[in-house]
Amino acid sequence: MPTLRTLSRVAESIYWMGRYLERAESTARVVAVNANLLMDLPAGASLGWRPLLDIAGAGDAFDARYAHTDERNVARFLTGDAANPSSIASSTARARDNARIVRGAMPRVAFQYINELYLFVREELAGQPSRSRRGAALDGVARRVQQIEGFLSSAMLHDEKWQFLRLGNHLERADMMTRIVDSLARHPNAGGGFPPFEQVIWRSALQSLYAMQSYLFSTQGQVERGPVLQFLFANEAFPRSYAGCLRSLRFGLRHLPRNVAPARVCERIARRLKAARPQRLDGTALHDFIDDCQIQLNALHEAISITYFHFEPAAPPRGPGEAPA
C-alpha cells in the first residue's frame, strides 16, 4: 500500500487539537491544585491567585477585564471565560473546532468524546459555579481529556497524523510544566523558607503534574526544591517531565519525513538541559533557564510549523507526467 501523505492543513489542525486538549487539562489541574494549596498555607504566606495568571501568561488580559485579583475572578477567567483565549472554555472550543476539521482522520467516536468535553465545559463552567461544583467540574475536564487521549492512543492508527497529535500534546505539556515550576519557584517560601511551607509548594507542583507517587518512588526522598526540580526537568522516565516530553517529541519526529530542522532544535534543547542542571540553579538563574526553555520550545514549534504546515512545496514537473510519489 502506498503511504497516504497527510495534508499540511490537516496535520496542523491535529497538532493544535493536541495542544488545546493538553492546555485544557493542565489549566484544570493548575486551578484545582492551587485551590488546595491555598488551604494549606496561612493567609500571610500565600501569594493568592496572581501566580496562576502568570502561568497562563495572561496577567494583562485579566487586568483589562477584572478589577480584583481574587479567587472568584481568577478562577472564572481561567475556566469559563470565553473572552480569555487561554481559558478552559476557549481551549476546549478550539480543540473542538480543530477536531471538526480532522474528524475524518480519527475513529468516528473520537469527535463525539471531544464534543462531549466541549458541551460539559459549556454547561459546568459557565457563570459562577460554587467552589465544590467547580472542583468537580475541573476534575471532570481532566478526566475527559485523559479519556480522549487514552482512547486515541488505543484506537487511532499510529501514523503521521498520530505523530502530529503527540507533538502537540508534548510540546504543550513541556511548556505548561515549565510555566508551573516558574510560577511556584518565584514564591518567597519556595526555596529555603519555612520548610513546611516549602514542602507544601513543591508538593503542589508535583500534584499539578500527577507526579507525586512517581517522584516518591524514584527518589525515595523528601519533597524538596532541588530533587523536585531534578525530577521534573531531567527524569526521562516520567512522561510529564521536561526530559520525558523531549524524548516523546524526538521519537515522534523520527517517524515524520523531512524532519531535519525540527530534530536539530530538539538536539539543541537536549544539550542545553544537560548543561543547565536546573536543580542547582538559584532563583534568578532558574527563571532565566526556564525562560530559555520556553524560547526553545517556541523555536521547536516554529520549526515544525515551517517544515510541515506553512512551506512552499517544490513545483510539480513541467509538462505531462507523474509527480514524485
Binding site: 502506498p2 497516504l4 501523505r5 497527510t6 495534508l7 499540511s8 492543513r9 490537516v10 496535520a11 473546532d97 471538526r100 476539521i101 474528524r103 475524518g104 482522520a105 468516528r108 469527535f111 463525539q112 464534543n115 462531549e116 458541551l119 503521521e160 515524520l256 519525513p257 523531512r258 510541515y308 504546515f309 512545496p313 517544490a314 513545483a315 510539480p316 514537473p317 513541467r318 509538462g319 505531462p320 507526467g321 507523474e322 509527480a323 514524485p324 510519489a325
Partner: protein
C-alpha cells in the same frame, strides 16, 4: 397512556403508516403494534434520548440568516417514528430512478457534444442557450463512461391517491445522504428492539458504493486513484456531511487551499512531504466557485486551474461541471421525453404535471390559477424562490405574476400536491405531518440506488416545506419485506 390510533386523523391525505380504516398499511402492522405498546411518556423519553444522541454525536447542519454574519450550527431535527416503504414498491422505484438517471446523463453528454436532442427538436434550443447552468467551457469534454452526474438525489412525493411522483432531480451537489445514514444509527440506539423483530434493510453500504463510483471515474491507467472530498469549509451548511463522507470512505477532506494545479495540468495535494497527485475530486462546491481562472475570479473555495486539469482528463470532478444544465425545473418537464428519446423506453416513474411558462397557453393558465399552483424558478434549490399559491398573500402572487411575465423561461408551475403524511411525535402525541423522500443514485460502472433514502418531514402542522433550512426535520426510512412482516393470508 398508550397511543390511541383512533385519535390519529390523517383525513383526506395518504398516510404512509395508517390506512383510512385505522388499520396499518401492508408491512406496517408490526411497527404499529409495537408503537401501541409504548405509552406517550415512553415515546417522549425515546424522542429525548434521540435528541441527546444527536447532540452528543455532533450531527449538525448550519443555517444562514440576515441577522448573523456567520452560519449557526444547529442540531439535526429528527423524528423517532420511522417511515416505511414496502420492498416490492421500492424495487419498482429503484428501476424508475436508474432509468431516469441514465437518460439524464445521456442528455448532459449529448448537450456538450452533438446536441442531437436539440437538432431533433425534442428540447427547444432556446432553453439550453439561455440556461444559467449551461457551461460553454464543458463543450467537447469526454468524461469517463460518459457520466456527468455521478451522484443524483431525486425528490419523490406521494400524492393523496397513493401514486409516487418525481418532484425534482438534484444533479449538481445533492446533500442529505449522511443524515440518512446517521438517522439509522440513532434509531438503532433508541429502538433496538424494533430491529430485532422487523426485517429492515440496512443502508450502510453507501460509503463503499460511493467510493467505488468515484474510483470508476478516475483517469485512464490509474490503478489506485487518490480520491478527496472538496468542501467549501467548516462554515458550509453541509460541512457535517462532507466530513462524514470523507471519514466513512477513508479519503481526504480538502479545501481549495490544499490543492495546486501544476503547469502540467495535473492536480496536487499539499501534504507534509510536498505535492502529491490527486485523481478524483468529489467536489461539494458549486461550479462557479470551482476555478477562479475560469469562473468567479474572486472565489477562494476552489483552485485555479481545476477546469484545465479536468478538461485535460487528468482529474475527475464529480459531479462534472456543467451538469446543472439538466438540473433545471424547466428541463425537468422534459425528462419523460428524454427517457423515450435516449432509451426508447416508457418512463417508469411519473413526473408531476407541469406547466412551462414560456409557452403562451400554459403561461396564461398559470397566471389565471396562481392561487392554486406552485410556481418554481428554474434554477433555485432548497425551497427558495418558490410561490406556494394557496398559502401566498395577494401581494406575493402579484409579485410572481410580474416575475413570470418579465422572464417566462425561468418559471414552471405545478398543481399543489397533497403530500403524504406519517405519524410524527409532536407535543406529546402522534400527529400526521407531510413528508417527501430523497433517494440517492450513484452512476459508475453500474448504477446503485440507496435502500430507501432520506425522508424529510415538515414539522409544522399543515406545512409541506420539508427543507431543513426552513423548519423541516427528518425520519429514518425503512424498506421492509412485507413478505416477512405481512399478516398471514386468510384461508
Amino acid at each position: 397512556m398508550p397511543i390511541d390510533w383512533k385519535e390519529y386523523n390523517a383525513a383526506g391525505v395518504w398516510d404512509e403508516l395508517i390506512a383510512p380504516t385505522g388499520r396499518a398499511r401492508p408491512g406496517a402492522g408490526p411497527l404499529r403494534k409495537m408503537l401501541a405498546r409504548l405509552s406517550d411518556v415512553e415515546l417522549g423519553e425515546r424522542q429525548a434520548a434521540a435528541n441527546l444522541a444527536i447532540r452528543a454525536m455532533g450531527i449538525t447542519f448550519s443555517v444562514y440568516n440576515d441577522e448573523s454574519p456567520n452560519a449557526i450550527d444547529r442540531e439535526w431535527p429528527f423524528d423517532i417514528i420511522p417511515r416505511l416503504v414496502q420492498r416490492r414498491e421500492w424495487e419498482a422505484i429503484e428501476r424508475g430512478l436508474k432509468q431516469r438517471v441514465a437518460a439524464l446523463n445521456l442528455f448532459i453528454d449529448d448537450i456538450y457534444h452533438e446536441q442531437r436532442v436539440l437538432r431533433d427538436g425534442v428540447v427547444p434550443r432556446a432553453y439550453i442557450e439561455k440556461s444559467r447552468e449551461f457551461r460553454p467551457q464543458c463543450v467537447g469534454v469526454d468524461t469517463p463512461n460518459g457520466i456527468w452526474s455521478h451522484v443524483c438525489g431525486s425528490d419523490l412525493v406521494r400524492d393523496h391517491d397513493g401514486a409516487v411522483y418525481v418532484l425534482e432531480d438534484n444533479l449538481r451537489v445533492p446533500s442529505g445522504v449522511s443524515y440518512m445514514l446517521e438517522n439509522r444509527e440513532v434509531m438503532k440506539r433508541v429502538f433496538p428492539e424494533l430491529f430485532q423483530h422487523l426485517a429492515i434493510h440496512p443502508v450502510d453500504d453507501y460509503p463503499r458504493q460511493l467510493s467505488r463510483c468515484l474510483a470508476a471515474a478516475a483517469p485512464d491507467g490509474v490503478e489506485t486513484p487518490r480520491i478527496a472530498v472538496l468542501t467549501p469549509g467548516i462554515h458550509n451548511s453541509a460541512y457535517f456531511e462532507h466530513s462524514y463522507l470523507a471519514q466513512t470512505m477513508a479519503v481526504d477532506l480538502v479545501e481549495g487551499r490544499d490543492l495546486v494545479v501544476g503547469d502540467d495540468d495535473c492536480v496536487y495535494l499539499r501534504t507534509i512531504e510536498g505535492l502529491v497527485r490527486l485523481h478524483v475530486l468529489y467536489r461539494r462546491v458549486d461550479d462557479l466557485f470551482l476555478d477562479p481562472e475560469t469562473f468567479n475570479e474572486h472565489s477562494l473555495l476552489g483552485a485555479p486551474g481545476l477546469m484545465r486539469a479536468w478538461r485535460a482528463g487528468n482529474v475527475a470532478l464529480a459531479n462534472a461541471p456543467g451538469c446543472g444544465v439538466a438540473d433545471d425545473k424547466v428541463i425537468y418537464t422534459y425528462v419523460p421525453d428524454l427517457i423515450r428519446y435516449y432509451l426508447s423506453e416508457a418512463p417508469l416513474l411519473p413526473n408531476v404535471r407541469s406547466h412551462r411558462c414560456v409557452e403562451k397557453s400554459e403561461r396564461d393558465y398559470v397566471l389565471d390559477n396562481l392561487d392554486t399552483l406552485v410556481v418554481k424558478p428554474a434554477n433555485e434549490s432548497g425551497g427558495y424562490g418558490m410561490l406556494i399559491g394557496p398559502q401566498a398573500t395577494k401581494r406575493e402572487r402579484e409579485r410572481f405574476r410580474r416575475r413570470i411575465l418579465a422572464n417566462p423561461r425561468n418559471y414552471m408551475a405545478q398543481p399543489m400536491l397533497t403530500l403524504s403524511t406519517a405519524p410524527t411525535w409532536t407535543d406529546g402525541r402522534l400527529e400526521p405531518r407531510h413528508l417527501d423522500l430523497r433517494p440517492f443514485v450513484l452512476s459508475g460502472h453500474e448504477r446503485y440506488v440507496t435502500m430507501g433514502g432520506l425522508t424529510r418531514v415538515a414539522l409544522r402542522k399543515g406545512s409541506t416545506v420539508v427543507n431543513s433550512s426552513q423548519g423541516g426535520g427528518s425520519k429514518d426510512t425503512w424498506v421492509v419485506d412485507s413478505t416477512a412482516t405481512a399478516p398471514r393470508a386468510r384461508r
